[in-house]
């Protein structure tokens, strides 16, 4: 329990550090938001008035603390270009991007675990070799290209879904999930192929170790050795990889959203970057950082559950 708590504290500190770095870099480069908001209508008096109103005349650290405090309370400032609170803008987009990333993640697990185990069991047999060649090619496919091909084949030729026909989860939850299947698949395929390769080599390298020979000599069958002994250890590199992937899924969904016309966080992020709408960019970045860190914690805790050695060596450090 103290292990999880320690991780949680580290995460909070990291999150504060990230928010400070983000605030600092946007403060240094973005320039004066008041000038930006007034644009051509700027006069020195109006500028000064707006700056006081926005609290821009306070020292940097005070402004950071104010901003941080507001952020923690759920007030992310307001968008320069839309003049509406950022929290309102992104609140209903987060579930979309999160659903896409989690679905893609689920696909990765469902595809890679059976295939990885199968290919390790049948290593170097003809069919397995063929699968690994195909697997290697899939690893090289950029997700957005996979998305375009899936749209072409399943959207335009087989008409299994309507490209661009996104349905919000607020209108129809089932159709929403239905529309996300192919985007999630596009996002998942290359990473699933990598996961297969990692799981395969993790299992194969465990198979040579002494404790496996011991397990066999005790009369265990292949199946028992695999499920009781090998998989437990082979899962460690696999889970590390999954943790890294889940963070990448969040970023990858930004691109996939563009391919399939999904109005999630990615679309707002891109348009805000184009419009230099910094409060929105900052809020989205910190949100994603939060999600990434949360994932890391979950992975760390799973480690501790699977492998008691890890939490001990962590404490020693």
């Amino acid at each position: 329990m103290s292990y999880a708590l320690q991780k949680l504290v580290t995460m909070l500190i990291t999150l504060v550090a990230i928010s400070f770095l983000v605030f600092l870099s946007f403060h240094l480069i973005a320039g004066d938001p008041a000038t930006k908001m007034l644009g051509t209508e700027a006069t020195p008096e109006r500028l000064a008035a707006l700056r006081t109103e926005m609290g821009l005349d306070a020292p940097f650290l005070i402004r950071y603390l104010r901003w941080f405090q507001a952020f923690m309370a759920g007030d992310f400032g307001s968008s320069y270009s839309y003049n509406m609170p950022v929290s309102v803008m992104i609140a209903d987009k987060i579930p979309i991007t999160l659903a896409l990333a989690l679905m893609a993640f689920a696909f990765i697990i469902v595809l890679s675990v059976p295939l990885g185990i199968y290919s390790a069991k049948n290593a170097n047999q003809p069919l397995e070799r063929f699968i690994m060649v195909v697997n290697q090619i899939f690893m090289a496919i950029p997700p957005f290209f996979a998305g375009i091909i899936l749209t072409l084949v399943f959207g335009l030729i087989f008409r299994l879904f309507t490209p661009g026909g996104f349905v919000s989860y607020k209108t129809d939850g089932l159709k929403f999930i239905g529309y996300l299947i192919f985007p999630a698949l596009a996002l998942a395929l290359p990473k699933a192929a990598m996961a297969v390769k990692i799981l395969r080599s993790a299992i194969l390298s465990e198979m040579h170790l002494d404790y496996i020979r011991t397990a066999y000599s005790k009369g265990n069958t292949d199946k028992q050795v695999l499920s009781r002994h090998v998989l437990k250890n082979a899962m460690i590199p696999f889970i590390t990889f999954q943790g890294m992937i889940l963070a990448e899924m969040m970023a990858g969904s930004i691109i996939i959203e563009q391919v399939f016309g999904i109005p999630g966080l990615g679309r707002i992020l891109l348009s805000s970057i184009a419009n230099r709408d910094y409060p929105v960019v900052m809020a989205i970045i910190i949100w994603i950082a939060f999600l990434v860190l949360a994932v890391n914690i979950v992975v760390d805790i799973i480690y501790g559950l699977i492998d008691p050695r890890i939490s001990i060596s962590e404490k020693r450090r």
């Binding site: 550090a17 480069i29 973005a30 090289a140 957005f144 290209f145 563009q258 990434v292």
Partner: protein, 265 residues
């Protein structure tokens, strides 16, 4: 593996060689001007004169793919160089000297490392603005932490070894020890990371120009060609397939090559 031939190395080397030739040729020579539009050749199919056909503006696709893949190569190589250079510098100095600066830098490093590199690059681009050179800077910065981490851990390992201790005793200066003694020994670990980094850079560049952030039109880039082709893919699938397959071949060749090099005894 025993006496089995290293197929990864052979096939990967062959694909990479062909793709490199293809990309570098694109810099010196293309069959047609990649940016010249020709209304008569709109969506023209595959022909002897235009082996990949023509796009929605009647531009020659083969020439565009050639120049586009050269642009991708250019961005990827410079990104990796930038990431490696600063990564090695930071990793070597922090690993060698340690102390409080090391502690602080590595905390920041770990934080950045946990962040997906495309996202980080997007942040930098939002600050710097779009364009090919800004993408190189943005991706380069995003790639530094990974390399710094690897180099630092190698330096931590090597600086305690006997040969470094005796180098100290021989009165050799710190800088010489860092760059002439330890760094060459860290290279075998760094090289695979650089190769994986190159692939990630190709992917990231393509992704960013797909989003309209990288190479600016009318100059071709593989990512942008794919995003333009999306509206016409039913009418002219070759517009999607040509840049996509070239992209896959570049990544496939390089990942096979790096697998093959790793396996070599």
């Amino acid at each position: 593996m025993g006496n089995a031939k290293n197929y990864n190395l052979i096939i990967g080397g062959a694909i990479t060689g062909i793709m490199l030739l293809f990309m570098l040729t694109g810099f010196f020579y293309t069959p047609h001007d990649p940016n010249i539009m020709n209304a008569e050749l709109k969506f023209a199919g595959i022909s002897f004169n235009h082996p990949f056909g023509n796009d929605n503006f009647g531009r020659d696709l083969l020439s565009r793919v050639m120049v586009g893949s050269f642009n991708t190569l250019y961005v990827a190589v410079l990104t990796v160089l930038c990431g490696t250079f600063f990564g090695v510098l930071i990793g070597a100095l922090t690993g060698y000297y340690g102390g409080i600066i090391d502690e602080i830098l590595m905390r920041i490093n770990d934080t950045i490392f946990a962040f997906p590199s495309i996202l980080l690059a997007l942040v930098f681009v939002s600050i710097l603005g779009s364009g090919r050179n800004n993408v190189i800077i943005a991706l380069g910065i995003a790639f530094i932490p990974g390399f710094a981490r690897i180099v630092r851990s190698e330096f931590l390992k090597h600086k305690k070894m006997d040969y470094i201790v005796s180098a100290h005793l021989a009165g050799i200066g710190d800088l010489r020890i860092i760059f002439r003694h330890i760094l060459p020994n860290a290279a075998p670990v760094l090289l695979p990371a650089v190769m994986i980094g190159f692939n990630n850079a190709v992917l990231a560049e393509a992704g960013m120009s797909f989003l309209g952030i990288g190479v600016q039109p009318p100059d071709p880039s593989l990512g942008r060609m794919l995003s333009e082709a999306q509206s016409y893919m039913f009418r002219s699938p070759v517009m999607v397939l040509a840049p996509g397959i070239v992209l896959i071949l570049i990544i496939l060749g390089f990942s096979l090559l790096s697998d093959g090099l790793n396996k070599r005894p």
